[in-house]
């Protein structure tokens, strides 16, 4: 059982925002991450603000520019099974289908998935780690086989979300409502790197709520995929993953987005690999070069050097699948 908390069920986004003014108020979307954190004592809340009764936050709608808006309360099951999503952005549907287990996908939401807390066992466990306001990252000299090989600084978590890299590859943006009004933040800018602030996961300010995620229209010739590697197949977090969004003209790559999952504390865009691919044919040499380049700056920890060849092999396989047949 968790420590006691109050519970409110507002009907509108405006009421959500005012409910969040209370000290220690936290959003409950599906609750799958929130309840786990409360039970493990990762943090405490005074007031749980449920989004369950807020009108209009669930579902997928068409945008005039040919893109899609996905409501923050859309369940991951509904995202994975949405025909238009799967048709336009197959990688996003693949990522959604690979999240957690069926029961958690039925309950977990898109907004909650983007804002979920890290899965590092020291963070979730009884350790006064840096991210919880403690004094050090216990993974540095500890069990770090699932931790970061890129982008680590002070704290070495990997970002646990499968949806975030997929959305980032598609240039999606989160629409955020708060006391100061509505703003739009690219998913690429939503998460905070530990070098900047190791105690913070997202740029959301107190009182802010994600209402939807907007995905631009798919460019002509888009190839979009998501690959997730985990230690067991039934369900698990990624040990390596990649979202690809390539636009191809014949076999020449015009635009490229390569975003790595489970590599870094934030979804990790490999602009260096994208540079190798852009303007070039998607042949064996460029594919190998891109995979090497993506890992060029990798700094493995004591127990996770296996991730480097794993990411390379995965990128080679995934990029090869993108070749026009």
């Amino acid at each position: 059982m968790t420590t006691p908390f109050s519970y409110v069920r507002p009907r509108s986004v405006a009421d959500v925002i005012s409910s969040l003014e209370a000290e220690g108020a936290t959003i409950h979307a599906g609750g799958t991450d929130l309840l786990g954190c409360l039970r493990d004592g990762v943090y405490a809340v005074d007031t749980v603000v449920s989004l369950g009764d807020v009108e209009g936050l669930a579902g997928v709608r068409e945008l005039k520019d040919g893109g899609l808006a996905v409501g923050a309360m859309t369940t991951i099951t509904d995202l994975a099974g949405h025909a238009t999503v799967a048709g336009r952005y197959p990688g996003l549907a693949q990522a959604a289908a690979a999240v957690a287990s069926p029961q958690l996908r039925h309950q977990g939401t898109v907004g909650g998935n983007l804002c979920q807390k890290p899965r590092c066992w020291y963070y979730r466990g009884d350790f006064p780690c840096l991210r919880k306001g403690g004094y050090k990252c216990f993974a540095v000299n500890g069990e770090n086989q699932h931790h970061a090989i890129l982008g680590g600084a002070q704290c070495f978590i990997v970002h646990p979300s499968d949806l975030a890299p997929a959305l980032m590859a598609l240039d999606a943006a989160a629409i955020i409502d708060g006391p100061a009004g509505t703003r739009r933040v690219a998913v690429a800018d939503l998460h905070v790197a530990p070098a900047e602030d190791p105690t913070r996961e997202t740029v959301l300010e107190p009182g802010e709520v994600i209402t939807e995620v907007r995905i631009p229209a798919p460019p002509a010739g888009l190839y979009n995929s998501y690959r997730k590697i985990r230690t067991r197949r039934s369900w698990d977090f990624a040990i390596a993953g990649c979202a690809l969004a390539l636009t191809l003209d014949g076999d020449t790559v015009r635009q490229a987005r390569v975003v790595l999952a489970a590599a870094a504390p934030v979804p990790w865009r490999s602009t260096a690999a994208e540079d190798v691919l852009r303007g070039n044919p998607l042949d064996d040499a460029h594919i190998r070069d891109a995979a090497e380049t993506a890992m060029a700056d990798a700094v493995p920890m004591t127990h996770n050097a296996y991730k480097v060849p794993l990411f390379k092999g995965m990128l080679i396989e995934e990029l090869a699948k993108a070749r026009p047949r």
Binding site: M1, T2, T3, P4, F5, S6, Y7, V8, R9, P10, R11, S12, D15, S19, H28, G31, T32, L35, G36, L38, R39, D40, D46, T47, V48, S50, G52, D53, A100, S101, P102, Q103, L104, H106, Q107, S234, W235
Partner: protein, 212 residues
């Protein structure tokens, strides 16, 4: 299971009988105004724009479980799993990890399998909740349960009620799933005894009988 055992409640150190409990909750000192969507009997709802439940206090709610309306007192922090087992005596849903990792607490909410350990009871108000008890026809096993027995879909049986509910949810959505779809739909339910092959056979058997 009798109503007496199901409705024993403890509140403020006082054991409440079913009758006393209903009286108390009927006069509930804390107003829990649910929206119109939460059904009849909540006259105050229309005027309320928001519901607020205070920490540490119990409030009366109505849960719709296995076709019955259960009115009971809950704290906001209580999980549906806790309420089912400890307040209503419905012990089919099992306590496993309480972290959303094992599936032993699987129940149906509006026909969809969910983990009761990761669901607050107050979030389940207004939904149709079903547990393995609800699949019984009196003392007779429901079809999915009978198929688990027939196909030896269990060893110790601890995971079984959760497996049964995951299977029931699958078959309501798709009455004739293939083996791969069965494996996929059952992937959120772990079995420490490793009875998986028999579990999948049981789901196939239940699907055959549902069709026939």
């Amino acid at each position: 299971m009798t109503d007496d055992t199901r409705d024993g409640h403890r509140s403020g150190g006082q054991e409440l009988s079913r009758r006393a409990f209903i009286k108390t909750s009927g006069m509930g000192t804390v107003a829990f105004a649910m929206g119109p969507a939460y059904g009849a009997g909540q006259a105050a709802a229309d005027e309320e724009t928001e519901t607020r439940l205070e920490a540490g206090e119990t409030v009366p709610i109505t849960l719709h479980i296995n076709g019955r309306s259960e009115r009971l007192l809950v704290e906001p922090r209580w999980s549906l799993l806790f309420v089912l087992r400890e307040r209503l005596g419905l012990t089919a849903a099992k306590v496993g990890c309480e972290r959303g990792e094992c599936g032993s607490c699987t129940v149906l909410l509006d026909d969809v399998p969910r983990y009761a350990c990761m669901t607050l009871a107050v979030e389940a108000v207004g939904r149709r909740i079903e547990t393995a008890e609800g699949l019984m026809d009196g003392e007779t096993l429901g079809q999915v349960q009978a198929s688990f027995v027939k196909e030896d879909g269990l060893q110790c049986g601890y995971c079984t009620p959760g497996q049964v509910m995951a299977a029931e949810g699958l078959l309501r959505r798709n009455p004739s799933p293939g083996r791969d779809e069965i494996r996929h739909a059952m992937s959120g339910n772990l079995c420490r005894c490793g009875a998986y092959a028999h579990i999948f056979n049981a789901v196939e058997d239940a699907a055959r009988h549902r069709k026939g």
